[in-house]
């Protein structure tokens, strides 16, 4: 399965390429518009083609990501899936209250994280050991905050609040509490 790290690599490449192109384009325009030459009116056909291009680009971005990013479809239709495991986590007074000391997950499990806040708005994110983000969601009090995730490889992850909730929120980190292990060695 495509990992969130791979999606970010793809995004980095695409956006970097775009930035280089647009910077070069504006630089070229700056040289040309002040250089020798005669002012000519731009043909309306070029303008309408450009508008059509932007329309296609704007819509296709979401269609492409919906069909290539594996969690997008699962996220929007998560009630149609049956999770292999569900973890109910409560957040109160800037602390995560876990169902057990470690959350052990089998490779290939679809896991539902059901996080409830009893006071403020927080965030809930899973982070790899190199600090990169696996996923995150908001945790709003008085509402169901659930996220279904398919774990397709082994790993150890930390939980961190991804929403600002005052200075104390910075310390809402549970180091290495999520373990994804091969199916054979699972409980």
């Amino acid at each position: 399965m495509v990992d969130s790290k791979m999606v970010l690599t793809g995004q980095t490449l695409a956006y970097t390429f775009y930035c280089i192109v647009i910077i070069l384009l504006v630089a070229w325009f700056s040289i040309k518009v002040t250089g020798k030459g005669k002012g000519l009116a731009v043909k309306p056909a070029i303008f309408y083609t450009f508008v059509a291009f932007l329309t296609v680009l704007g819509v296709s971005l979401h269609l492409i990501t919906y069909n290539t990013i594996p969690w997008a479809e699962m996220d929007l239709n998560r009630s149609d899936y049956k999770p292999d495991k569900t973890f109910v986590i409560t957040v109160k007074d800037h602390k995560f209250i876990m169902p057990s000391e470690k959350l052990v997950i089998n490779v290939d499990d679809k896991v539902l994280f059901d996080v409830q806040s009893e006071d403020l708005t927080y965030g809930f994110g899973l982070f790899r050991q190199d600090n990169s983000m696996m996923f995150q969601m908001q945790v709003v009090p008085g509402h169901r905050n659930d996220l279904l995730w398919h774990f397709d490889r082994e790993g150890v992850y930390s939980i961190r609040s991804t929403e600002y909730s005052g200075p104390q929120g910075v310390f809402m980190i549970l180091k290495d509490v999520v373990q994804v292990i091969p199916t054979t060695s699972a409980n």
Partner: protein
């Protein structure tokens, strides 16, 4: 002239504040205060950037978060609102060829925005009041970490800024529609309809098309002002709401999340807040680009009717895109995420791309142009939005938002590049083009300093956004601290680029002070000796 003489009297002693009309003084006051608050923001930004690398001994952690809270508010209200309000209070009557409806009300806008910004900044500085996420004020209200009194003063400051904003909106619409003394009766309703785009919309369905009574940039200001008015109402209402929570707390009641549904409130507030970032900023900027392109090129705007219609589309789009801020809220209905959060938001790519194209095409029609200061800063502004808007469209995607929300990506390549490069460079272009008009022909002290300002600002702003973005893609959150130096390399590089921004700003500020002199700066704040409603002195 010696250095001291220039410092006191300005370049060649050309700027004479006693020759300024009340309108010129009003506009210059807005600009000076806006630039001072921009200085606040640059220094605060640098302090935070350094703190992200290594906590500074003279700043406590609560103080860091208080700076983090005040920083965007001072930037948007204290700096940007000041410069934009000042420029538009001058440009709307200038383009309508009649005096401002009320200079007195304009002065009140200036006083309220300046004082309000100082009050909320000072309340944050003293009490370390810091519960906000950028401009978002979360409910339930947290009284364990933050002082009720600090919050009360903070809200008062914001409320004053909003009152000033309301006065600005009234002044703009009254200026468009009123009949000055001694003039033939103006068609108020028709002027209003033209400014808001109703005439253009009706023209689509009738054979007898009516002419546009207001110039295109004025239509942009009017439509952006609709968003200013709506945003003012939402923020004022929210301020009162938060105040209710505070008063309840003082009286011993804890309303917590029982009084207002947190998600419903979040939708309401983000709807209102988005009228700034995705509304008035984009509409105002597009209108300003068009005006600058026409002034620089001396040519009519390319595809004028389409541009006018696009401004209306942009306004309507700004009312319907708020849900892209709630893509990570799992209780938010999926239909809102897809329609409002993704699809309608993607329209901004079209409307902003269209404004980008129209501006470039207008400039192109007048080549060869001289690379003047307004032109170079305008091109910088265009580049800024060309970089920042697609970055925003990417994060406004259900799939990508899951791994980008609340990371440095959002605040780097999107927010900072949009504001620092896109918006601020456009404003600098306006300042450079209006400088001789507002100062009755004063001369810039140094072109070299203008060039240093341009390159330092452009490279510093894009570089800072880029390194913040790289950190975000590696998982670094915004509004957080990494005490073990996990992202130090990116933060050091971002701080280096931030230093360039600071150098650019100091060059600009020094250049302006040397151009008009300290005597001139003081003179801007003294009452005008010329009793006239004219914008510039009669020649």
């Amino acid at each position: 002239m010696s250095f001291i003489q220039t410092l006191i009297n300005g370049e060649e002693g050309l700027f004479k504040s006693e020759t300024l009309t009340p309108m010129q003084k009003l506009t210059l006051r807005f600009v000076v205060v806006g630039l001072i608050y921009f200085g606040f923001v640059v220094i605060e930004g640098m302090l935070m950037r350094l703190y992200e690398v290594k906590p500074l001994p003279f700043i406590t952690e609560p103080q860091f978060f208080a700076i983090l809270t005040a920083h965007p508010l001072v930037g948007i209200f204290g700096s940007t609102y000041s410069i934009v309000f000042g420029a538009f209070l001058f440009l709307v009557p200038f383009l309508m060829k009649k005096p401002l409806w009320s200079i007195k009300l304009g002065n009140w806008t200036f006083i309220l925005v300046t004082a309000g910004t100082f009050i909320f900044w000072f309340a944050g500085f003293v009490s370390h009041y810091a519960p906000l996420y950028t401009l978002y004020w979360p409910l339930p209200v947290d009284f364990k970490q933050f002082s009720v009194w600090g919050g009360t003063f903070f809200i008062t400051g914001i409320a004053l800024v909003m009152a000033g904003s309301a006065f600005f909106v009234i002044n703009i619409f009254k200026t468009i529609t009123y009949t000055p003394e001694g003039w033939e009766k103006q068609p108020s309703k028709a002027l209003l309809a033209s400014a808001l785009g109703i005439t253009g919309f009706k023209n689509l369905f009738t054979k007898n098309k009516k002419e546009h009574l207001v110039p295109l940039p004025v239509a942009a200001v009017a439509r952006g002002s609709v968003d200013v008015a709506l945003n003012t109402a939402v923020i004022l209402f929210t301020g009162v709401l938060v105040l209710v929570f505070m008063i309840a707390s003082i009286l011993g009641f804890d309303l917590k999340n029982t009084a207002i549904d947190a998600l419903l409130y979040k939708n309401w507030f983000w709807w209102g807040l988005d009228l700034i970032a995705d509304g008035l900023v984009l509409v105002f900027v597009a209108g300003t680009w068009y005006l600058l392109a026409m002034m620089i090129s001396g040519k009519p705007l390319f595809m004028q009717n389409i541009a006018r219609a696009a401004l209306l589309v942009e306004l309507v789009v700004s009312w319907t895109v708020w849900s892209h801020h709630l893509l990570s809220d799992q209780a938010q209905p999926a239909i809102l995420k897809v329609i409002s959060g993704e699809m309608v938001t993607a329209f901004e790519l079209i409307t902003q791309g269209l404004a980008f194209f129209i501006t470039l095409a207008t400039l192109w029609s007048a080549r060869p142009l001289k690379m003047t200061n307004p032109l170079k800063f305008l091109l910088g502004g265009l580049l800024g939005f060309a970089l920042a808007v697609p970055a925003g469209i990417m994060q406004a995607d259900v799939g990508l938002n899951r791994i980008l929300h609340n990371t440095q990506w959002v605040v780097g390549p999107h927010v900072h590049v949009a504001i620092l490069i896109g918006l601020t460079m456009t404003l600098y272009s306006v300042i450079y083009i209006l400088f001789p008009i507002l100062t009755n022909g004063a001369k810039m002290y140094s072109q070299k300093l203008v060039n240093i300002h341009f390159w330092c600002h452009l490279i510093g702003g894009i570089g800072m956004g880029a390194f913040m973005g790289m950190a975000g893609l590696k998982g670094m959150l915004r509004r957080s601290l990494y005490l073990n130096g996990e992202f130090n390399i990116y933060m050091i590089l971002a701080a280096t680029c931030g230093t360039l921004l600071l150098i650019g700003f100091l060059s600009f500020f020094y250049n302006i002070v040397m151009s008009i002199g300290i005597k001139g700066v003081i003179g801007i704040f003294t009452p005008s000796k010329i009793k006239t409603k004219d914008l510039i002195p009669a020649s």
